[in-house]
């Protein structure tokens, strides 16, 4: 395992007002990698999906804590882990299918699809009744094109 060059851990209540804060807190930490506007929007969006899922799904019956860990690696790699101690997901593979949602209303069932399409890799580990950990991995090239391989 590579050693991160910097790391922050955050712990938030599952209030919807914290969705915006989580985006700011993650993207401000990643700013040192000098991402492009598009890259920073991709990260903010994927984080927003994962944090929203903690609020609307994991802790749908009450309030809980959301744990976020951001790690920066050499070469522009960023890893964001979003963890909850909520209800867990019965069938992760099914949950990741586009349009699958266990909530009606205006949930589109596209949260995981957005994460997948905006990140290089999305890892989901979940245990029913225990909680869910979503890990988003993305390597940003940055605004300094000379960093490209």
């Amino acid at each position: 395992m590579q050693k991160p060059k910097n790391e922050v851990k955050l712990q938030l209540d599952s209030r919807s007002v914290n969705e915006g804060y989580a985006r700011v807190a993650v993207s401000a930490f990643a700013a040192v990698l000098d991402p492009t506007v598009e890259e920073i929007n991709d990260i903010r969006t994927a984080v927003s999906e994962a944090v929203t899922n903690c609020i609307v799904h994991a802790y749908r019956n009450g309030m809980g804590k959301i744990y976020i860990r951001v790690r920066l690696f050499d070469g522009g790699k960023i890893e964001v882990q979003i963890r909850d101690r909520g209800c867990g997901i019965a069938d992760v593979q099914k949950a990741r299918e586009p349009l699958f949602t266990t909530l009606g209303g205006d949930r589109s069932g596209l949260g995981f699809s957005v994460m997948e399409s905006f990140c290089d890799r999305v890892r989901v580990r979940s245990e029913l009744g225990k909680g869910t950990t979503v890990t988003l991995i993305k390597t940003v090239k940055g605004r300094d094109a000379s960093r490209e391989p």
């Binding site: 919807s16 969705e19 915006g20 969006t45 927003s48 609020i55 205006d106 596209l110 949260g111």
Partner: protein
Amino acid sequence: MQVHIETEDAAAVCYLDGELDHHNAPSVREKIDEYAVGSTPKHIILDFGGVTFMDSSGIGLVMGRYKLLSAANCTLSVRNLSPHAYKVMRLAGLDALVTLQKRGEKGGKQYAKAEK
């Protein structure tokens, strides 16, 4: 997130301002739906010119309005999308249902497709 609604020719234009996420979407939805029910316009245009962030909650918002308004014979279109918001909506295949116009993109009336 702010919404203000203006009429433009036969259409009602809803100007959205701010970050469109799960936290903010409900108030936007209520404003639009309330207007649609009260004023029964023939066309509704969602203007995303002021939207600084959007996640899949934006998809849900547009999809939900599309269903509701179709049932009421009102057409829907979306304009002034940032490259990012456009990317998110395309990912959802919303371009097959609703006319999506990017920022800086020309194109007269924006409710053409839904009228077909």
